[in-house]
Symmetry: C2
Subunit: 557 residues, 2 copies
């Protein structure tokens, strides 16, 4: 049977009005602001009103180190949410919000796929409810205010060579990575080197996703470092006095967005920070609200378990006081074959030998989740070219190690295809868990990095470049040493070398630079080069896009 394309399926969805979805969740009429008939923003008053209610159980969906195409975490998250509802539970899905910029370049959405999607996917993949536009605006307003301060006398003594706050745009535009601005003489500002990141890499995106109230948002914004003085002292938003204006620009963006899946399962889609220089999870507020609205929350974190899950468990749980109950690790036969040495063009061919070899990658991730004290289930996200022999090998591997495993057929069959997985999750989630983050915040930053590298990546240790060593010293001086660490590392390998597949052994991680995200509240440790402004491909997807006579999207996916 041919499964229609994602957009064909999505455009045929029988959606309920968002007011109906809200009503079923016990949300009062004044607590949901509709944005069109099928999207809504939820008032933070809901959290207040339901303060004393019991929290639903939080299920985190993560994955093995992915192939460039991704392993279908969003699809499994949506599918598992649908399946839990199908077996009679009240489950809510909580996902990240996609960035519009990349859709102009590559085909492929961020709303799940097949019969496990969130809808209306056209809207979600384009402007949605404007959250990312609000972040772009607030970010660039801050830059304009900083530049204006310098232009008009620079009372704070900012060194234009040490500005850390650049500009952002929700677009793949490589020409903006490095620019010289302020040209044209004394009426046009002060010349300086700068650049643009894509909006989801803005610290404001991370701030929005970690804030648990409007006041917390304002407090975090206040701490953002915008640059350094000639004396190398940090200058913050507080020094400039514009935290209120930025909070005002973000006040609606802070409210979680309610949509639904193809099977009318409620879904909160809110916030989407980068998973390398930021923590890669949807917002604390969406996750907390979902756990007040449902008995089960299914949520995801970016990239593989070494990045997304590690940050969810070490950063997001602390910021939001969230207690995860279980982790689902998505594994695909194709990714495991890649980890066994198969080149990416041959992943559709059966290769049991490579698969056997690649299982070591899954094994390491399971060990890490285990070390956080959390129950876990492996979900095999089935692809049409997976062979029965391959699936059997993966299952057998899990069984032999007492790891719970289940096939998820959610792409082709929606919630129905995830019922067995749902049953297994419901069974395991009742087992006692003993969650705690990996490290204490009291440890020095270098020790925190070392803990992550050894326990999660399996490294022997960490090397710091001389620049990074000097930055460690500054971090201590400025009182940022007690912040958690956000690792920026390749998603393709457990190591910091994207070519090392499987479960690398006998390696060290090199931290070449440390950056302070004092508003978000973490220290970013960069290993290797991190791209924060993508480019467009030779043949951009934009060439195929249009609007049809019914006003619907064409060529989006």
């Amino acid at each position: 049977m041919r499964v229609p394309s994602d957009i064909e399926i999505a455009q045929q969805a029988e959606m309920l009005k968002i007011t109906e979805i809200a009503e079923k969740l016990g949300i009062e009429e004044h607590e949901v602001e509709p944005y069109g008939h099928y999207k809504g923003k939820l008032s933070l008053d809901i959290l207040h009103r339901r303060k004393e209610d019991k929290d639903g159980k939080v299920i985190l969906v993560t994955a093995v180190n992915p192939t460039p195409a991704g392993e279908g975490k969003s699809t499994v998250t949506v599918g598992l949410g649908q399946a839990l509802n199908k077996v009679g539970k009240k489950a809510v899905v909580a996902l990240r919000e996609p960035s519009l910029g990349p859709t102009m370049g590559m085909k492929g959405g961020a709303c799940g796929g097949g019969y496990s999607q969130v809808v209306p996917m056209e809207d979600i993949n384009l402007h949605f409810t404007g959250d990312i536009h609000a972040i772009t605006t607030a970010h660039n307003a801050l830059t304009a205010l900083v530049d204006n301060h310098i232009h008009r006398g620079n009372e704070l003594g900012l060194d234009v060579r040490k500005l850390t706050w650049k500009r952002v745009m929700d677009m793949n535009d490589r020409s903006l990575r490095q620019v010289v601005a302020g040209l044209g003489g004394p009426l046009q500002g002060v010349p300086h080197e700068t650049g643009f990141d894509i909006t989801v890499a803005s610290e404001l995106m991370a701030v929005l996703c970690l804030a648990d109230s409007i006041n917390d948002l304002r407090n975090r914004i206040r701490k953002i470092v915008i640059g350094y003085t000639y004396e190398d002292l940090p200058v913050t938003v507080k020094d400039l006095g514009v935290e209120g204006a930025l909070t005002l620009l973000l006040k609606d963006a802070l409210k979680p967005n309610l949509v639904q899946t193809l099977e009318n399962t409620p879904a909160l889609i809110h916030g989407g920070p980068f998973a390398n220089i930021a923590h890669g999870c949807n917002s604390v507020l969406a996750t907390k609200m979902a756990s007040k609205l449902g008995d089960y929350v299914v949520t995801e974190a970016g990239f593989g378990a070494d990045l997304g899950a590690e940050k969810f468990l070490n950063i997001k749980t602390r910021a939001g006081n969230i207690k995860p109950a279980l982790v689902v690790v998505v594994a695909t036969i194709r990714a495991l074959k890649m980890h066994g040495g198969v080149p990416k063009d041959n992943l559709k061919e059966e290769n049991t030998e490579a698969l056997q070899k690649g299982l070591a990658n899954l094994e390491k991730h399971i060990e890490s989740i285990h070390s956080f004290g959390l129950p876990h289930v492996v979900a095999i996200n089935r692809f049409s070219h997976d062979t029965p022999a391959e699936i059997e090998i993966l299952k057998e591997f899990c069984h032999s190690r007492d790891i719970q495993v289940e096939l998820a057929d959610v792409w082709e069959s929606g919630g129905e295809g995830g019922k067995k997985l749902a049953e297994k999750v419901l069974n395991e989630i009742e087992k006692p868990s003993n969650f705690s983050p990996l490290y204490s915040l009291d440890l020095p930053v270098e020790q925190k990095i070392n803990n992550i590298a050894t326990a999660v990546y399996g490294a022997d240790g960490v090397n710091f470049s001389s620049g990074a060593a000097a930055q460690l010293k500054k971090i201590k001086e400025h009182g940022w040493d007690n912040l958690p660490v956000c690792m920026a590392k390749t998603q393709y390998s457990l190591s910091d070398d994207p070519a090392q597949f499987g479960r690398p052994q006998n390696f060290r991680i090199t931290v070449r630079e440390l950056r302070v995200s004092a508003g978000a509240g973490f220290i970013v440790a960069l290993t290797g080069n991190v791209m924060t402004m993508p480019g467009l491909p030779k043949r951009p997807g934009a060439l195929d896009m249009d609007v049809n006579d019914e006003g619907g999207a064409v060529g989006l996916f």
Copy 2:
């Protein structure tokens, strides 16, 4: 009596739900998409469904040449709309959409004022329904696609020194006026000089405001010139093949926004192009839709009658096949005193002599409106420091020339204060009118400019710089000679010299540059310097902004 601040009044408004406002207008439930409880987007299907219905009468509100503070055109527009409803008529207001960027700098909104405002003014002045963000995104997507084309081989042979499509941001950011982008080596694009305009100066804003359907939008986008080849041939969006993608990004922004006034009069707020390099009117679609929904439409155009009204009557009426029925010319005592030679700091003091002298400015605008064949009424927008003697002089001036005139007290008293004006308008509008644009499109561009300069400005003629003369030749060569002209001129004077107040005599206009907006469908004639990216003031308004404990805006206005 102290009139509370605009935001105090706005926050106490008793708004009806937008679905109620829509219902009263006969809009069907599926034709309005709510954006929150008090804003909505209207489906273009309404125009189709009501195709055969009679159109409401269009009343254009314009003004004398304004002071820098503006003369309250929006306030009079809103107040007159409210007053028409108060006297039992079905009137709809159609306004421009404010740009967010400037609100970070200067206090003062674009939603009217006092008891004649559109609400929710906080939302309208901030992100509203995202239209301007959509335009920013579409504009910059096009730039990224152009740069990517050059980066990847430049098949179209674009000369990077002759790119006419820059970038935009909805922010006052002088540092972005002139930048060098594409720095950093062969992986980061091609180095080139460029810059940012504020979003409302984007040709896409003008395009959106002149398009009368999705298909017209796509056709106009297709014609936009992005730059020239080494051989000086124009390259368009069509050559790049991305008109569909840009149309997709703008498909929701094309739908007019429905809100209400403080007195629950329906208001369509949609589109806000610059009034110098563009035509400065709200969208054709909003005006047309308003005339299907109400028996009277009250709408405005930017700056004074020499700019906004001239462009409304010569450009917008043609694009939208709109037949205006009457023009209201807003005059203020303070502006007329300025035209009589009073410095701007002394405008609150009585000065009957200067007022008498300044009336010549009003006189010229009335003559111009008359030459378009339209009935007209002068509305005196009353300020608290106007004296009875001054008002009497203005009235007497009008009476002596058979010009209809009425005091509008709409700022302090809302619709009630505009009832007399409304009655006068209703009386005059029944008189026969004989509207036609000022010039035929068949005339050469230089002749069109000459017609505007002599008939509307009272100039003796037009000088063209040698650069402009060369551009006139190119315009003919490329077949753009039959487009209407959009004059970019100072708003402070009838001449092109902002220091010439009143009714200047014996002067010529100098056109220093011509630009082609082939998508919008006009030739921009620039006289003097035109600022398309504002800067922030020494003490930006952002310093006073915040969110209060109820989630409302603080310090916005």
